[in-house]
């Protein structure tokens, strides 16, 4: 069984658990996003047809939330905290350096799909500002040099030390 079928089967099971209840839309969107990592039109159309909801409503709800992605994220995900503390501590400079170095734009992925760069709101680690998260690992008191090196390492496939 392909992974595609398996994901669809899991999504179907979740919808069944909710009794295909229209008011469980957000919960189901969450699970679908977890399974697929992003939404495309086919997926949203599928959810809309299973829950018997207007497609425009499903899209409207999904697009309301910043954390739902509408493009396939890269293999490695870098997110930069743009909270006030991190901003003051110069996260902008680090973000621009990443953009230049890896030829990506914030909110987008590299042409080869290997990395994505996202901006997040405050992650609550202001004491460690500025914070950059690479594949779920937070780098506190980040410097341009340290971050670029870590990304190169991740991309090079080298083993990243346990946190």
């Amino acid at each position: 069984m392909s992974s595609e079928d398996r994901r669809l089967q899991m999504l179907e099971r979740i919808m069944r658990e909710h009794g295909y209840d229209k008011s469980a839309l957000l919960e189901i969107l969450h699970m679908a996003h977890e399974l697929y990592g992003y939404f495309d039109k086919n997926l949203l159309n599928y959810i809309s047809s299973r829950l018997n909801l207007p497609p425009s409503h499903v899209y409207g709800v999904a697009s309301f939330y910043n954390l739902f992605k509408f493009r396939r994220p890269g293999e490695h995900v870098i997110s930069a905290c743009m909270g006030t503390a991190c901003y003051v501590k110069g996260v902008e400079e680090i973000v621009s350096a990443i953009e230049r170095e890896f030829n990506i734009k914030r909110g987008g992925s590299s042409p080869d799909g290997r990395i994505s760069l996202f901006i997040t709101r405050c992650i609550g680690a202001c004491a460690m500002a500025p914070n950059i998260t690479i594949d779920g690992e937070v780098i506190g008191r980040a410097t341009k040099e340290a971050v670029l090196e870590r990304i190169r390492k991740v991309l090079g496939g080298g083993v990243v030390e346990a946190r």
């Binding site: 207007p54 497609p55 425009s56 409207g60 309301f64």
Partner: protein
């Protein structure tokens, strides 16, 4: 004492009797008092988005949207005052600053509720900076046009589509300043599977955001359509 389900209130000093649960706007309308509104439309549910129908209620420092605030016994409502005019004028200016509202090149010029209100409230310039992103115009439908550059997000179109036509082909995507009217899953209108091309959205649009191509807007607009259909339904 008033009977069950009936309340008495004063609107602009006029004694008005209203049903419990009725909104201030609807009670005022029956008393012949006009309150400006852009998103409210007879026959559709109240949305409370445009904030032009704000009124003062004696005893509260807050302003209340008349279209969503239910009446209560002994309420004293003021629908027009220097303070309200000031706030309404600013709201109109903010609406105008969010999109490139240029009347001279707009199909709705002369048949536009936003333009009428701007004139009524003496908006001759904007005190806030204009700021907008240019949006794509959807020309894919054979006769309906969606121009998000002119949209004020009153949601009349999506309410008429959902509540009167019963389809809900339209909705809003994103939020805040990125909000936009969409058809189905952000599809081109021409390829929409749910739109029935009934053109009610164009009839109720208060501005020139949804219109019928190549037809004079004075003929295609008819904002009484929602109430007309609602009242004459057989069930």
């Amino acid at each position: 004492m008033s009977g069950t389900g009936v309340v008495k209130l004063k609107i602009d000093g006029v004694e008005v009797t209203a049903n419990e649960g009725e909104t201030i706007l609807s009670a005022a309308k029956r008393a012949g008092i006009k309150i400006p509104a852009l998103c409210y439309l007879d026959g559709l549910s109240s949305y409370g988005g445009c904030r032009l129908c704000i009124v003062e209620v004696k005893g509260s420092p807050r302003l209340f949207p008349a279209c969503t605030t239910p009446v209560s016994n002994g309420m004293e409502v003021t629908t027009d005052s220097p303070k309200l005019r000031k706030y309404r004028k600013m709201t109109i200016e903010l609406l105008l600053s969010e999109k490139p509202h240029i009347c001279a090149i707009c199909i709705a010029n002369g048949n536009c509720e936003l333009q009428d209100l701007a004139r009524e409230f003496g908006v001759d310039h904007l005190r806030v900076e204009r700021e907008w992103k240019s949006q794509k115009i959807d020309l894919s439908h054979s006769f309906l046009v969606l121009d998000n550059n002119r949209c004020i997000l009153c949601t009349r179109c999506l309410r008429v589509c959902d509540e009167i036509e019963g389809v809900h082909a339209l909705d809003i995507k994103m939020r805040g300043k990125d909000s936009q009217i969409i058809i189905d899953i952000d599809d081109d209108w021409g390829s929409s599977i749910s739109c029935t091309s009934c053109r009610k959205c164009a009839r109720v649009c208060p501005v020139g955001a949804i219109y019928v191509r190549d037809e004079p807007i004075s003929r295609t607009k008819n904002k009484d359509i929602a109430q007309f259909i609602l009242l004459r339904r057989r069930r």
